[in-house]
């Protein structure tokens, strides 16, 4: 078994509003191992996104511990929408993270441009984001995240704003990228098929207050890409199992 990357023990999170206190997450236990692709599914509004914010350290938890097991672990966050900056070219958008972290060197720039090239976007590097299609924009956002060379990718429904065809193609591509670069990933989604087609393991969350009610290993080999997985007979068994867990 691979070593642990990140452990959440008895984590809880409560939001304060004028109307009162909302407990978003309660007694959540979750582990991510190195090189693992974990998907989190759950009803919408159950606090899946909050888990990523907690892990990223954007908000403090109300209780429990979030422990990063590997010192110096680099995390990259990818949001539902690309949020590319309109006044910057594609190239400058890709370099944004490096620039912000003062890590923009000759080498890191070359790396980022290499990524653009690998994913077929280098001819668009002088374009402004509004000249690109939704799928291309999201790919640029992914490269912006990858340029930081994260060990762990946090994907917050990164395909949900795309049309179906783009979505399948892009998830296939993202999957290959993550596997090729040997990254670990946590994918938050409400789309069961997407979870089964990409993850090694699916954590099923309950409605609010969220906690992990089932942990389902997906038995496809890591080398099998999402589109291929969707064609497997066992795909639907996994789907049904997760569906039942969500319904129960």
């Amino acid at each position: 078994m691979q070593s642990e990357l990140l452990t959440l023990s008895d984590v809880s999170l409560a939001y304060q509003t004028v109307e009162g206190e909302t407990v978003a997450i309660q007694d959540l236990n979750l582990t991510v191992r190195e090189g693992e692709f974990l998907a989190i599914v759950g009803p919408s509004g159950c606090g899946k996104t909050s888990v990523l914010s907690l892990i990223m350290g954007l908000i403090p938890q109300s209780g429990g511990t979030v422990r990063v097991q590997k010192p110096g672990l680099r995390m990259g966050y990818m949001l539902q929408r690309d949020h590319l900056l309109d006044h910057r070219t594609v190239e400058k958008n890709v370099l944004l993270g490096l620039e912000v972290q003062h890590r923009l060197t000759e080498q890191s720039r070359k790396n980022a441009l290499q990524l653009l090239d690998t994913y077929g976007l280098s001819e668009f590097k002088t374009y402004k984001p509004n000249q690109l299609s939704g799928g291309m924009r999201q790919k640029v956002a992914l490269i912006r995240t990858l340029a930081l060379e994260p060990d762990l990718l946090l994907l917050d429904e990164p395909f949900s704003a795309l049309d179906y065809q783009t979505r399948l193609n892009l998830s296939d591509e993202v999957y290959r990228i993550i596997r090729r670069e040997h990254k670990s990933a946590i994918l938050v989604t409400h789309d069961i098929s997407e979870a089964v087609s990409m993850a090694d393991r699916v954590a099923v969350f309950t409605a609010r207050p969220a906690t992990c009610k089932a942990d389902i290993p997906i038995g496809f080999p890591a080398a099998m890409p999402p589109l291929e997985r969707r064609r497997q007979a066992t795909f639907h068994d996994y789907f049904d199992r997760i569906w039942e867990e969500l319904q129960a």
Partner: protein, 265 residues
């Protein structure tokens, strides 16, 4: 961009576009010429009293006379200096104030009602107060020009900053950005289009502030000429000053519009 008509229909379409553009430009010039012509002929034929309404030729003669004795440049220079100073200081201070309010959201909330009232208040109502406080001189006029453009700049620019949504700022935080980086890389660029509209508004506002200031207290300037001309019934002088104002205000507006084009491309 080069035009390559792809078909006869396309060529016809391009021609019609050009025709429309010519037609509009000719009509614009035509209106100006017609007004000047009717004004001139009407004054010559005594349809109205040229002593009260002046005429283009008398306006022209007045400008020539002022130019010959050198006083024209003094008046234009005075007003232009006051306006440019008021405009620049007003927009710079207004924009800096907007930055401060963005940086300190609590201060923004505290000052919000004051900003609303100040924005609604006709700033020229403060003219007499300024003269008492600052003195009867150019400083009062410049401050008037500043006041008139400052608040509107602050309100417009602050509004522009809000184009940088919370989500975009969240993205910056996921990349590990500091507040200063969020400001310089996301918020400020998002505010640039509104900053430019603020400039366009302010440039007109500053003229209002300065001319009213000159009405109240001045020894030189186009506003001074207008008030003086009105008091001694030299309507030629009033009309000549207004005509010069038209030209200057238009030039300054187009300078800002030119700047906008530069920034946008």
């Amino acid at each position: 961009m080069k035009q390559h008509p792809v078909s006869d229909a396309h060529a016809r379409y391009l021609r019609s576009l050009r025709r429309d553009a010519h037609c509009i430009r000719l009509s614009q010039i035509g209106i100006l010429l017609a007004v000047l012509l009717i004004w001139e002929v009407g004054a010559d034929l005594n349809w109205f009293d040229p002593f009260i309404l002046s005429s283009p030729s008398r306006v022209f003669a007045t400008v020539a006379r002022l130019s010959a004795d050198g006083s024209l440049w003094l008046h234009i220079g005075t007003t232009l200096l006051e306006t440019v100073l008021g405009f620049l200081l007003g927009t710079v201070l207004g924009a800096l104030f907007a930055v401060l309010l963005w940086w300190l959201p609590k201060l923004n909330r505290i000052l919000d009602p004051y900003l609303v009232v100040l924005n609604a208040l006709p700033k020229i109502a403060l003219g007499p107060v300024l003269i008492v406080w600052i003195g009867a001189g150019m400083a009062s006029i410049v401050v008037m020009g500043i006041l008139v453009s400052l608040v509107v700049t602050t309100v417009t620019v602050l509004n522009g900053f809000s184009a940088a949504t919370d989500e975009k700022q969240l993205l910056m935080r996921t990349l590990g950005a500091t507040k200063l980086q969020i400001f310089t890389k996301v918020v400020l660029p998002a505010g640039v289009p509104d900053l430019i509209s603020a400039l366009k508004i302010s440039v007109g506002m500053s003229w209002v502030g300065v001319i009213v200031g000159e009405y109240l207290v001045s020894k030189a300037g186009l506003g001074y000429l207008i008030v003086y001309g009105g008091q001694v019934f030299k309507l030629d002088l009033v009309m000549a000053s207004v005509a010069i104002l038209c030209v200057l205000a238009a030039l300054m507006y187009y300078a800002v519009a030119f700047l906008e084009k530069k920034v946008r491309t």
